[in-house]
């Protein structure tokens, strides 16, 4: 049943991505100011949504672990954080490529890029911590606390940067004030978002299975050594 779900989501993600790739590359015209490279936004923006959501989901999972001490929540939090790190990397990479072409610079310390970078550093620290702890219960407990502290930090960074001047393009989506793209140009963002969410779900499920198996192996090893 679980495997079937994984395959279905994979196919769904692949299908949507292919359809939208065709749409993006062949159907849509170039944007008037930016030329061809604007198309990167169709991967950059959905990846942001998916990358950020990871934090809050992991925060919830960490809280649930501390409340119930059920290690499945810990596996979930770890899997989601790792997948979110991947998407954060995609955001930074696509952002840098776009920036190089449009602004001529690889990097700028504007609000949103900085926030994403801080996100990335905190995720990476969390994963490094997990590597440093062998014992599963201690690992779950300590990384849950790090997750909670990390997520609070992102919220603080996010809020404080909203007050900061930014070089980032103003919101482009019509759901946010000041945004709005030509009709037909906006929907690929949402479709790709759906595809990336499916992909994220697939990756999380696979990763969780790995975590659970690793934990079982750890217990078997402890038993073998002690008896």
């Amino acid at each position: 049943m679980r495997n079937k779900l994984v395959y279905v989501l994979c196919l769904l993600a692949a299908g949507i991505l292919c359809w939208q790739l065709y749409n993006i590359l062949l159907n849509l015209p170039n944007e008037k100011d930016q030329g061809a490279i604007y198309r990167i936004v169709y991967f950059h923006v959905p990846a942001i949504f998916t990358g950020f959501m990871g934090f809050f989901v992991a925060l919830g999972a960490s809280g649930m672990y501390l409340a119930t001490r059920n290690l499945k929540y810990d596996a979930f939090a770890a899997a989601v954080t790792e997948v979110s790190l991947t998407f954060a990397t995609i955001v930074l990479a696509t952002g840098m490529i776009w920036g190089r072409i449009i602004w001529g610079i690889w990097w700028t310390w504007d609000a949103r890029l900085t926030t994403m970078l801080v996100c990335w550093l905190i995720y990476a620290g969390y994963l490094m911590l997990r590597r440093a702890i062998d014992e599963p219960t201690q690992r779950a407990r300590l990384s849950a606390v790090v997750s909670i502290f990390g997520c609070t930090d992102i919220l603080i960074v996010w809020k404080s940067i909203e007050w900061w001047r930014t070089q980032h393009p103003a919101p482009v989506l019509s759901v946010r004030d000041g945004g709005g793209m030509a009709p037909g140009m906006e929907s690929p963002i949402y479709w790709n978002w759906l595809a990336l969410m499916c992909l994220a779900a697939v990756l999380v499920m696979i990763r969780m299975r790995q975590e659970n198996m690793a934990r079982e192996i750890d217990s078997l090893r402890r038993m073998a050594h002690s008896y």
Binding site: L71, P136, R222
Partner: protein
């Protein structure tokens, strides 16, 4: 025993490291005034259990209660004294300063006076201002014992107390333990030194693979043949 504030109740305590059960379903009632020798091989779970009793770690399942109150309650911890592997003293502070800190943490209104009393009792009054890092091994051990007994705990937890002690220190410790026993204190000690422990013990418990393999009164047979328990209830 209902209403008996000094009894310890270990109720279905389990401790998991991941899925590995370090302790499994430990059920034990320790009567007030008894001295329990906790036996078992290395890795059997003795230290894990003692740490839970000392409030240093939480059980994955089950509870430990002292007179109805959870072992991690502030009031309960005032009643418990712990002596582990390390001496739990600060090398860069003096003997008096070390004992004063713990007297403060255990709520004494005049911590310095309490510290001075115990320095005298263990014979370290002369070196009260000496730094612990300059002490000899025997002096450090005596100070460690003073720290454990300082707040007059009703329940004493010792993790392998006789390990690495010289004969004189063993004699001192045995004296203190039997004194505590006569005063009605409850003592739980884990040990490999069967002879010394069994002499003082009124009860024994054998832990094997995280489970309680045997629990009961200490009989004269056990004194004559200390390995008896391991052979009968342990695996060979």
């Amino acid at each position: 025993m209902p209403g008996d504030e000094r009894a310890l109740e270990i109720d279905r305590v389990s401790k998991y490291y991941g899925h590995f059960p370090a302790l499994r379903d430990i059920q034990l009632k320790i009567a007030a005034g008894s001295t329990l020798a906790l036996l078992g091989r290395n890795g059997a779970g003795k230290t894990t259990l003692l740490r839970i009793l000392a409030g240093l770690s939480k059980p994955s399942e089950g509870t430990v209660r002292v007179g109805g109150a959870d072992v991690r309650d502030e009031k309960t911890r005032r009643r418990i004294g712990v002596l582990g592997h390390g001496i739990s003293l600060y090398d860069e502070l003096s003997a008096a300063e070390n004992l004063t800190i713990f007297a403060q943490l255990y709520g004494y209104a005049d911590p310095r006076k309490r510290a001075a009393e115990w320095l005298e009792r263990v014979g370290l009054e002369r070196v009260r201002d000496g730094l612990v890092r300059e002490f000899s091994r025997g002096m450090r051990q005596r100070l460690a014992v003073a720290r454990a007994f300082l707040h007059d705990p009703e329940i004493l937890l010792f993790d392998e107390p006789f390990t690495a002690l010289d004969d004189r220190a063993i004699a001192v410790l045995q004296g203190l333990l039997s004194g505590a026993h006569s005063a009605g204190r409850t003592i739980i000690m884990s040990t490999h030194q069967l002879r010394e422990a069994l002499l003082l013990a009124t009860h024994v418990a054998l832990i094997q693979r995280g489970q309680l393999a045997y629990t009961g009164e200490r009989t004269p047979e056990m004194l004559e043949d200390p390995g008896y328990l391991y052979r009968t209830y342990g695996d060979n």
